[in-house]
Amino acid sequence: MDSLDSIVLTILLFWPLVAALLVILLGRSDSLIKKGSIWASLLPLGLSIYLLFQYDSGTGGMQFEQVAKWIPQLNAGYHLGVDGLSVPLIFLTTLLSTLSLYYSAGVINERVKEYFFLMHLLEFSMIGVFLALDYVLFYVFWEISLVPMYFLIGIWGGENRGYAATKFFIYTLVGSVAMLLAILGVYFATGTFDIVEAAAAQPFAGNLTLASLAFWGFFFGFAFKVPSFPFHTWLPDAHTEAPTAGSVILAGVLLKLGAYGMLRIMLPSFPEASVYWATWIVGLGAIAIVYGAFVCVAQTDLKRLIAYSSVSHMGYVMLGIGAAAAVMTPDALAGAVNRFGLSAQAIQDSAAMALNGAALQMFNHGIITGALFFLVGIIYERAHSRDLSRFGGLATKTPHFYGLMLTAAFASLGLPGLAGFWAELFTFRGAFAIMPYWAAFGTIGIVITAVYILYRIIQNVFLGEYDPSKLSHWTTVQGEHADGPTDMVGFEKVTMWPLIVAMFLIGIYPTPLVSYFNQSARELLAFVQNLV
């Protein structure tokens, strides 16, 4: 299989683009477009599973690398590669893309050709971000991921879609341009656009002012995407207005791009600035956890509630990343050893654990929140409302829906046995050893999460007596009149079950997944320790 391994990433990357062009060129009928798109999306999914199996965690590092010239004058190349961090995230991307395409085939009946074209383009750009090991390439994919999402929100979104789409685009654009300036700064400091080489050259080492400028440039770019408090204000609007599959991809993958960038670029390239500013990242993360959870409790719109829960849950990721960043350099590690009286090994283990928790939370949040947004979409297709006060007693009417929602909601809350638990455990266990006060503050969020999950979602929507007068216009998913809520139908179940199964699998036996992340977390920490 050597010949496949040498080009597998290129095929994985460009196949969705080919699919997008095929949709435009050959898409004669809507049903052909839908079927073709779903089938086409199976290839990247298959390749990403192939990567999961073929990636050698024992060796670690970048594998399946591909290098070609692109703009030799600038030393910018076509450099792709995957490591333990990106392999699972690519799987997440292709899985959610396939499920989204499959689900959309059932509910999207307007401007079908454009929709499926944009979905493929979106998958192309997201895979590109995870594969790119060259700053220019990374930036190119990072930016073009904006465009299809902008159109998806703007064309197939809710009433206020124009506003939400523009807000989404401009917020993330401003963040990206800040990142572009930082990228250029790194280029002039190191003479290369290669992400790996540039990190090895340690731009601005010893110059904390410039390193901090570059650090914050990247941080703005990534924080808008994550989104970190206080840069999150575009997110509720974008999510509320986006079509279901758009929300799923947005929460499931696009938010991960920001956290991925922090791990891939900021920590290894600017270890000193990372240590210096780690408390800020942890603080913003912890505030996001608590703030996001409190805001959720106050929501009346189910989709907006899930959107804010993303702010809260991505806070865990920031918390984990920041905690690990705080003890990355040998000096910082020595300081932590003095402060806490723990061994250096124990601190490093905690840092690795925090990173694992952050990465695992990225993956789990993708699965869980993706599932939750699908579920919100499923009920919206029937009720044409997301107003929490108009639901109640659905448990008896829609038992299948209730069961799946219950699972996803409990996974989101961090119930042991489901996926969310491990991520929270690792993140907090790691962060406690390094930033005990912020971590303790963050745990308030866990309690509030239980409040909004149990009270706002489960109790409000599903429990109690069903009252027909609350909401009179029920339809079936096909839009025909119905007397009351109808349960999930075939294609919705097929969409949901893979995600539910994943939640259980990861919840019961997280080791295979963690081993990928642990490999790259250890590498990251060792890389910085050896360099400085």
Binding site: W70, R111, V147, I155, G162, A165, V177, L181, L184, G185
Partner: protein, 501 residues
């Protein structure tokens, strides 16, 4: 051929212009029967010949051998030839697309296309001129022909206003520039850019403080900047631009905002880099201030426009601010891959195709639904899907989204600014990119986010479509694989920087 060969593009254009002029005089098939399209075809033919000549000059001139001088007053170097290629490409695309537009609106076809070739000739001379008198004459020639073209639709009051406004501002700007030139002549005793530069570097080189008549250099520089800044529509000399672009016939607005601007930037770059190299410390902050004011004013004004034509007019003012950013960050010593001058040239090249494309879309809407108002673009995706897609590509390119030429333009000028550590300038550019995205997206929003839109499928003329397609392909090509363009651009700027005294 000698010197005559060096000015082949100019000769071709001169012959072309006179030929059409004579043809128009001699051949009179009767009122209302003149075929504007054949004049258009002739113009395109001569422009293409000039383009070929410029491309040949780009290829045959050996970078090692240094620039050639024609009749002592024109420098034929890669820098000038590259700008000429850019300008002629824009003029050809505008010609092909604009034929039917002009044919419908005016009866004096021969006149129009004569002036159109003469404008191209004027720009061509301006970018090569190495003597300030010739610079002045070329700019005046360019201005006067442009005044007439802007006001060409004699029955249309907006067009008259456009021409008159341009003329009133322009004549003052030229006078101011001429005064600046006279000051430089008084201070250095020469009108040749290179001699002026050498004289200044000799004075500055041996003195610790500015001595002799060198103090006159600064006011002269500002006066000349005012004159050229007017042509390039830099703030605060840009007030004419929106009214003129908006009122002029769209083909004229197209070249005024692209080719004419490129010519002005070429002259600016040549003047500052060759003649004023010794005063770099002085002009860098001045140009930086102009750059910031220009992009901010242009963007803020564009936010409030409801006419798409006017919005693009203001946006092209803002774009001039970004281009100037490259000139601010130019490094006269040891140019690197991401030099500011490279940025200026790459930006101009990408911007030309993008903005010509954007104006051509406006023209297409004027041709079909006779409106430039933003409401005419509502639901365009249903009525003219390819037009909407191409316009989106141009708008994304103007925003600076990757895979379009505009991205690499911005990438280069921002890069040059970061390289020189002008972080604040880059930061303001960043904020401006966000503001600009807002109004560009507003049009995209109208075109795509609703499928209601009234009216039938638009019937866009074939010639216009061809031009648009070329603009689109060029915009995407520069965005996806800019390597070749970067080579041309670096050869061009290396040769200009090599002659710095």
């Amino acid at each position: 051929m000698g010197d005559l060969g060096y000015i082949a593009p100019e000769i071709i254009l001169l012959i072309g212009g006179l030929f059409i002029f004579c043809l128009d005089l001699a051949y009179d098939p009767g009122v209302g029967k003149k075929s504007g399209l054949s004049y258009m075809a002739l113009s395109a033919l001569f422009l293409t010949a000039a383009l070929v000549a410029a491309v040949l000059q780009l290829n045959i001139s050996d970078p090692e051998a240094g620039p050639k001088v024609a009749y002592s007053m024109m420098t034929i170097d890669n820098f000038g030839s590259f700008i000429k290629v850019t300008i002629f490409s824009g003029m050809i695309l505008t010609t092909i697309a604009g034929g039917r537009y002009m044919n419908r609106r005016s009866g004096n076809q021969g006149e129009f296309w004569t002036f159109f070739l003469m404008v191209s000739l004027a720009m061509s001379i301006a970018v090569s001129a190495n003597n300030l008198v010739l610079v002045y004459l070329a700019i005046e020639f360019l201005s006067i022909t442009s005044y007439m073209l802007a006001g060409f639709l004699r029955e249309n009051r907006r067009s008259n206003e456009a021409g008159l406004k341009y003329f009133l501002y322009g004549s003052i700007a030229s006078a101011v520039m001429l005064y600046g030139i006279s000051l430089l002549y008084g201070a250095t005793g020469s009108l040749y850019l290179h001699d002026i530069g050498a004289e200044f570097s000799a004075i500055i080189g041996e003195a610790t403080e500015v001595s002799g008549l060198a103090f006159a250099a600064l006011p002269a520089m500002l006066l000349i900047l005012a004159g050229l800044g007017f042509k390039a529509s830099l703030a605060p000399f840009y007030q004419w631009a929106p009214d003129t672009y908006d009122g002029s016939p769209t083909p004229v607005a197209t070249y005024l905002s692209t080719a004419s601007k490129a010519a002005a930037f070429a002259v600016l770059a040549r003047f500052f880099i060759v003649a004023m190299a010794s005063f770099e410390v002085n002009w860098v902050p001045v140009l930086a201030a102009f750059s910031i004011i220009t992009m901010t004013m242009g963007n803020l004004a564009a936010l409030r426009q409801n006419s798409v034509k006017r919005m693009i007019a203001y946006s092209s003012v803002a774009q001039a601010g970004y281009i100037l950013m490259g000139l601010v960050a130019v490094t006269s010593s040891s140019p690197s891959a991401m030099d500011g001058l490279n940025g200026v040239l790459l930006y101009l090249f990408a911007y030309l195709f993008t903005n010509v494309g954007a104006f051509l879309v406006v023209m297409a809407l004027e041709e079909t639904v006779d409106s430039t108002h933003i409401s005419a673009y509502r639901g365009l995706i249903k009525r003219a899907p390819w037009l909407a897609v191409m316009f989106t590509i141009f708008l994304l390119s103007l925003t600076g989204i990757p895979l379009t030429g505009g991205f690499f333009g911005k990438f280069y000028v921002f890069g040059a600014a970061i390289q020189r550590q002008y972080f604040w300038l880059a930061g303001i550019g960043m904020i401006n990119a966000g503001i600009a995205a807002f109004y560009y997206l507003r049009v995209v929003r109208e075109m795509f986010f609703t499928s209601e839109g009234e009216g039938d499928i638009l019937d866009v003329p074939m010639a216009l479509q061809t031009s648009l397609l070329i603009c689109t392909i060029a915009t995407l090509w520069i965005g996806v694989y800019p390597s070749a363009v970067i080579d041309w651009v670096s050869n061009a700027s290396v040769q200009l920087l090599s002659v710095v005294p």
